[in-house]
């Protein structure tokens, strides 16, 4: 395993495997050959540590996947109602920008972002309480852990029933989804200050608020951001999934389910593309803020 993956293994598998495959099925051979070529290029590139290579390698990887997808769909004549090729999806995106934007605003801005913000604030507040009263921590965290295991497929219809069809219920689903990861990470973070750092506060006879403000909160930041990052992907997924259980007639989840019913798979994939882009951008934005806020942490400053 390790030997095969090492760059020293040589390039012969990259030639041999597609060739053998081509004998069985020429289309498979073509696909594997494209893959092998791109992968060999990536292995080459990855040996240099330059920043361009750092960005180029994942891009080539992604582009390769798209090309392979396109080629596979075309060579095997996969029907468009099963899996449309990326080119068709691209055309759909270009032609449907207003709809995509409307759905994006409904689901991401109104549902996911607001729910994310509310969930995060609520989690902070509870975390600070929980951190203050150890009894609460020991009682609430196990129960919360159990609650977090309730699958959204079950909670979403209930929340839609409670909070109505519009974005409020989607935000509620998001709150429920992001609350616990942020809570757990924040509580852990607030306890992460080491004993010496806490004792220092004691020797100054600092009040609880002072020690929270000057020590535990800053020390908790790396953990808090860990929770916030996990929560970004959960927020988007939660908002989309909640729309499957009732929604106004706009929103990414609504469009996806409706388009599947209409066999408009290009629209489905257009929405998925938007979701993946928005999710990755959201994640990236939080990661960027994290770098700013926790500039002092070894994982950020390097060494």
């Amino acid at each position: 395993m390790t030997a095969l993956l090492s760059p020293k293994a040589g390039l012969w598998p990259f030639v041999a495997v597609p060739l053998i495959a081509a004998v069985l099925d020429w289309r498979l051979g073509v696909i594997l050959a494209i893959w092998a070529a791109a992968w060999a290029l990536n292995i080459r590139l990855s040996q240099s540590a330059s920043p361009t290579a750092r960005t180029l390698v994942p891009v080539i990887f992604g582009v390769t996947i798209l090309v392979l997808w396109e080629v596979t769909v075309r060579l095997y004549a996969v029907p468009g109602v099963i899996l449309p090729p990326p080119s068709v999806i691209g055309v759909r995106i270009a032609n449907s920008l207003p709809i995509l934007w409307e759905d994006f605003v409904q689901t991401f801005v109104k549902g996911a972002l607001s729910g994310y913000a509310m969930g995060a604030v609520a989690a902070f507040a509870v975390a600070i309480l929980v951190d203050r009263y150890d009894f609460l921590r020991r009682g609430l965290l196990p129960v919360g852990n159990f609650m977090a295991a309730l699958p959204i497929i079950g909670t979403a219809p209930i929340l839609v029933m409670w909070f109505g069809f519009d974005w409020e219920s989607k935000a509620a689903v998001v709150v429920v989804m992001v609350f616990f990861p942020i809570l757990v990470n924040t509580v852990e973070g607030l306890r992460s200050a080491d004993r010496m750092q806490r004792d220092l506060m004691e020797t100054y006879a600092a009040t609880n608020w002072q020690s929270l403000l000057y020590l535990r909160l800053p020390a908790a930041m790396p953990f808090i951001f860990n929770g916030l990052k996990i929560a970004t992907t959960l927020a988007l997924i939660g908002a989309i999934v909640a729309e499957f259980f009732g929604s106004p007639i706009r929103g990414m989840g609504f469009r996806i389910s409706t388009s599947v019913g209409q066999l408009a798979l290009d629209m489905v994939w257009a929405q998925i593309t938007v979701a993946a882009l928005a999710g990755s951008a959201f994640y990236g934005a939080v990661a960027l803020i994290e770098r700013r806020v926790t500039f002092w942490h070894p994982s950020v400053r390097g060494r």
Binding site: M196, D199, Y204, W296, R301
Partner: protein, 333 residues
């Protein structure tokens, strides 16, 4: 780095130095020892005391019998007083007797070192004095109050073994942390930070973050932090453990100068025998399982202590006694 003259330059700081009424007068150097300037100039060409001359001091348990008065022996006001102190930690493996029957008096302006093998309770004792641990038996008073009250009265500056700076604050911000907590005005904070930064020779590094400094510089910053407010008692737990010998010598010299200038009472934990002997007016030797005091040595050394004093026979004599005390503690195990 820092010469003694520079440290004395501290005097031109905003605050005028307080008069030191409780202070012993400056003593003359020990009889058989050459004057310090003299000694320093004669590098590599020293005279040693005959062992006989040092002998009587080795057993000088009664300070009055010592050939010359030292500050610690001038019967100063008691600052820290421990009587039959017991401290037991309850752990999963059963109770750990960290301190057992500890009796100790520390007077105002004393410099007391604690030395002993790992786990003998040095840190625990210091923490108990600071009110960070609570004794399970006996009594412990600080300035006549309980340690907790003294802590609320902000009587302590505490320097931990590692620098323990907050990495998200600049050096200046780290030093102003206690001031901020204790509600000093912004202007006062700035003035004090500037003063202590100068004292530990870090003036140029105010805006740097801790991780941008070497270990030695971080340690100095943490000392500056403990000095920034006017705590009368300075508790230091192996503050120089991580430093190399030369830097350590320097900081030892500076610390001594500082202590002489201010009127602080210092409790100092160390693993190094020479360091303990060099710095202290009183050396407390401890022994583990259970943690207890096995020897208390009042130093006969003069208050003026150039680094070269470490090569004098009195010094070596005391060091020897400390080492014997330590070894005895180890053999107990």
């Amino acid at each position: 780095m820092l010469s003694r003259e520079e440290i004395d330059g501290f005097d031109h700081s905003p605050e005028p130095p307080k008069p030191a009424p409780a202070r012993a007068p400056k003593v003359t150097p020990s009889q058989p020892l050459a004057g310090e300037a003299d000694l320093a100039s004669r590098k590599g060409n020293w005279r040693y005391l005959a062992p006989e001359a040092a002998a009587p001091q080795a057993d000088a348990e009664a300070p009055a019998a010592a050939p010359e008065p030292t500050r610690a022996t001038d019967a100063p006001a008691t600052v820290i007083s421990a009587r039959d102190l017991d401290l037991v930690f309850q752990t999963n493996d059963g109770p750990v007797h960290a301190l057992s029957g500890v009796n100790l008096e520390i007077g105002k302006g004393e410099f007391v070192s604690f030395i002993g093998p790992s786990g003998c309770g040095k840190t625990t004792f210091l923490r108990a004095v600071a009110g960070l641990e609570h004794p399970t038996g006996g009594s412990l008073t600080v300035n006549g109050m309980t340690p907790d009250e003294a802590r609320q009265a902000r009587a302590y500056g505490y320097v931990f073994q590692a620098a323990g700076l907050y990495p998200w604050r600049t050096i200046a911000k780290n030093i102003s942390l206690p001031l901020q907590i204790m509600g000093y005005s912004k202007a006062d904070q700035e003035a004090r930070v500037a003063r202590v930064l100068e004292l530990v020779e870090l003036s140029g590094f105010a805006k740097k973050y801790p991780w941008q400094l070497s270990g030695g510089m971080q340690q100095r910053a943490s000392i500056a932090r403990a000095l920034s407010f006017d705590a009368d008692i300075l508790l230091m737990d192996e503050p120089f453990g991580a430093l190399d010998e030369i830097v350590r010598d320097h900081l030892n010299e500076q610390l001594l100068a500082l202590w002489k200038r201010t009127e602080k009472t210092i409790g100092f934990v160390t693993h190094s025998i020479p360091e303990a002997v060099y710095l202290s007016t009183k050396i407390v030797v401890m022994s583990p399982r259970p943690g207890r005091i096995t020897d208390v040595i009042d130093s006969p050394l003069p208050l003026d202590r150039p680094l070269d004093i470490r090569d004098t026979p009195e010094f070596i004599e005391i060091a020897h006694r400390v080492r014997e005390g330590l070894r005895a503690g180890h053999l107990d195990e």
